[in-house]
């Protein structure tokens, strides 16, 4: 526990620097992969070899080659360039959904943990009920109500994943509420609001950072899952989920159309998960 307090009490910037200094090899690899995806999202032209929308019917459904690194789709469009192009929208959806679900979860989780009593029970029961509905089904509900669009996708995934996070945050806050330093602050006569802002929230932030990092990967997986089912972004946009949905019909003749966009989703999700877990271990002072 002393370790926990020590690590979290020090200055954030110093902490980050100390972490950067000894990064394990696999985490470094994951950071590079995330960096490449970020580059693809912000400046896709730098990485693309072809125009992602250029139709060339003579070279349709080609398997990966030197000319087309990851093959072509049914209209002869270069899959590699399309995956690069799709990174922007996919990452934006993932980040948006994570931001939404975390905001909901923090409000619910913190309100429940900090208020305690009947209010806590009521909020927890609401979260329990939403938790009883599978994430994908909850997301489907929102698509049914609002119709498929990018915004719906973000809302559906954001709300669908929120109950799980709300539970975790509530638990996190409750455990911090019971620590010695919060007790000490109470004994010293600090007002409750000050204790919340100065002690509980900052200490809850660190585990949250790790949770959020992993959450972005999960959000992209859920969003691409929705799109895979044909309930996401409209086809011409080469978002990863849309690519997956388009490739579904060709999986028997052209496996790359399905496996490659899935690989992009998986590689990104795996990278952020490994980085997130590393952060978790470091920030929480485990090992």
């Amino acid at each position: 526990m002393s370790m926990f307090a020590e690590v979290t009490m020090s200055r954030p910037l110093k902490e980050v620097l100390a972490i950067v200094r000894h990064v394990p090899f696999r985490v470094a690899v994951c950071l590079i992969i995330i960096g490449l995806f970020a580059l693809a999202a912000m400046a896709p032209k730098v990485l693309q070899t072809h125009d992602p929308l250029a139709i060339d019917l003579r070279s349709s459904l080609q398997s990966p080659s030197i000319e087309h690194w990851l093959g072509t789709d049914q209209l002869g469009r270069d899959l590699y360039s399309r995956v690069v192009e799709g990174a922007g929208q996919s990452l934006a959806i993932g980040l948006g959904a994570t931001a939404l679900s975390m905001s909901i979860a923090i409000v619910f989780g913190a309100a429940a943990a900090l208020s305690g009593g009947v209010f806590d029970s009521i909020l927890s029961r609401i979260v329990d009920v939403l938790f009883a509905i599978p994430t994908l089904l909850l997301a489907l509900v929102f698509v049914t109500v609002f119709g498929p669009s990018v915004l719906t996708e973000v809302i559906a995934v954001g709300i669908g994943t929120a109950p799980g996070y709300a539970r975790m945050i509530r638990g996190q806050m409750l455990s911090i509420k019971g620590t010695g330093y919060v007790e000490a602050a109470k004994v010293l006569g600090h007002p409750f609001s000050r204790i919340v802002w100065r002690h509980i929230l900052p200490n809850a932030m660190n585990p949250l950072t790790a949770m959020m990092t992993i959450g972005v990967g999960q959000a992209i997986i859920w969003a691409s899952g929705l799109a895979f089912l044909g309930l996401g972004v409209a086809p011409p946009a080469p978002e990863w989920g849309a690519l997956l949905n388009a490739g579904r019909n060709y999986v028997i003749y052209a496996w790359w159309l399905e496996i490659i966009p899935g690989l992009a989703v998986s590689a990104f999700a795996l990278s952020v998960t490994i980085v997130g877990r590393h952060l978790q271990d470091r920030l929480e002072g485990k090992r």
Binding site: V145, L229, G230, R248
Partner: protein, 329 residues
């Protein structure tokens, strides 16, 4: 005064700990969850943007244009939309109590019937996957976990991989490798047992990653407990210790996880059924979502909440059998 209070509290606790009281409370809270889910399902139908009668007409007929006021009035009267919300809500709950989940806008059949028809294959898939996931997690933990060698590290990485990558991607890889390239399994399996193998495996692999990680964590923790050392000191073999003493403890968090896994299984099953074009809830739900057939989706919400409640009661009961130290909390 304090003394009396404490003894009264203790008395209350003892009564609350009685199995029957505990069970009754458990069932009651389960009913509350289902009721809340029903309220949520009702709310979904009410918040649909636009006029509900208009949407129903559009979904039913497939047209987009506005309907005549006579048509709208007929639909409003048929579904009772002209009544106050409180009355509609009361009728909705009453119908659910009679096992009526409403009628599909598109198929013009009771939702309960549609779901009952399709849920069988989905439940078979989910239970098969749960069992296989458990077998994989337990076997790998028994033989590999807690040893400091390359296999242990490899297992750990594999579990992270399986738990993280999207289930539909794993399923597609299995489909391409084993059905399209190697032709071991049929591409579209239908409901035959052989067609169940790949979908089950796809769903189970993902879940085994989760189970494996949790069980393995607990396993390595328990390996350091004094009773393990004492069993070793009595001359018990390493494998015997793992099987007889450690696994039982390590399985506890896994049991809790099984209840939680239900949601994951249902989400995964929807996706995987679509990958393998299997009959089941997945196809129905996707079709209902894209045609905005709200009664089917909200019916599925209600059913899955009910399944979740049943599963968590089963989990709690199992917990008591495996870990007698826990007295009904």
């Amino acid at each position: 005064m304090t003394l009396i209070l404490t003894t009264r509290n203790d008395a209350v606790k003892t009564i609350a700990n009685h199995p029957i009281i505990w069970f009754a409370r458990r069932i009651l809270s389960g009913v509350a969850v289902v009721w809340a889910a029903a309220t949520f399902a009702f709310a979904i139908q009410c918040v649909l943007p636009g006029d509900r009668a208009q949407i129903i007409i559009n979904v039913t007929s497939g047209n987009v244009g506005p309907a005549s006021s006579a048509e709208l009035a007929a639909i409003n009267a048929k579904y009772g939309f002209d009544q106050p919300l409180a009355v509609q809500y009361g009728k909705y709950i009453l119908r659910i109590l009679h096992g009526d989940l409403g009628e599909s806008y598109q198929q013009h059949r009771p939702v309960a019937g549609i779901i009952a028809e399709q849920i069988g294959p989905t439940i078979i898939l989910a239970i098969a996957a749960l069992l296989i996931a458990w077998i994989i997690a337990i076997l790998t933990t028994l033989f590999i976990a807690g040893r400091d060698n390359i296999w242990s590290k490899l297992l750990n990485d594999t579990q992270v991989f399986l738990a993280t990558v999207p289930p539909y991607w794993l399923a597609t890889i299995l489909l391409v490798v084993f059905a399209v390239k190697l032709r071991i399994f049929p591409v579209i399996g239908g409901n035959s047992p052989i067609g169940l193998v790949l979908p089950t495996l796809a769903l189970a692999l993902e879940l085994s990653g989760f189970f494996g990680q949790v069980v393995q964590n607990e396993f390595t923790r328990v390996l350091e407990q004094p009773f393990v050392t004492s069993a070793r000191a009595r001359g018990m073999s390493d494998f015997g210790v793992r099987l007889r003493h450690v696994l039982r403890h390590a399985a506890l968090p896994g049991i809790t996880l099984s209840g939680w896994a239900l949601g994951k299984l249902l989400s995964g099953a929807i996706l995987i059924e679509v990958v393998f074009a299997r009959q089941g809830l997945g196809g129905v739900l996707v079709a209902a979502t894209s045609s905005r057939d709200v009664p089917i989706v909200s019916g599925a919400v209600l059913i899955s909440a009910g399944l979740f409640v049943v599963a968590s009661v089963i989990v709690d009961l199992t917990y008591r059998v495996v870990d007698p130290r826990i007295k009904l909390t």
